[in-house]
Symmetry: C2
Subunit: 98 residues, 2 copies
Amino acid sequence: MRRAPEPDTEPLWREAVGRGLRDLRRARGDRLADTAARAGMSPQYLSELERGRKDPSSEMLAAVAGALGVPVREVVRRAHADLALRAGSPSGPVMLAA
Amino acid sequence: MRRAPEPDTEPLWREAVGRGLRDLRRARGDRLADTAARAGMSPQYLSELERGRKDPSSEMLAAVAGALGVPVREVVRRAHADLALRAGSPSGPVMLAA
């Protein structure tokens, strides 16, 4: 069944949180394998989280945040900023420069 | 002042988001059954989300936000505010009045 069109094209939570996790990891200069090892997960799984392909459980989110040296609320703050930026205007998303 | 062990005391994402969803629903004067019906889920499942017992998928989160008349980013903003409030001070969480 086809869904009714959304009023805007807001990204999914997992996409916003994935971008936040990737940005935090890169800011540390970590490779996927570095952060994943500290978080106790595979680099493949962390990569899926960063690309917004998987919804992390709250425990996984806490593990990755811990591995990145930040509280969960910092990851949530970044995800919110990502969603707010992409919302752009009330009439829809803005195009972000690459 | 003694510094509390922060990582152990931060609430889980699903607990913070659950409180945000409950607050938004109550602010509308909705019963669980009202919001759940619009979101296409059972009142029991919505109740579990609100109590922080289940991690909502991104699709479920979008469905509940839509049923509450807000974008996902508003739910995320409230979850962040909840986590920041409970973090309270650099030395640990504050006790919230009931």
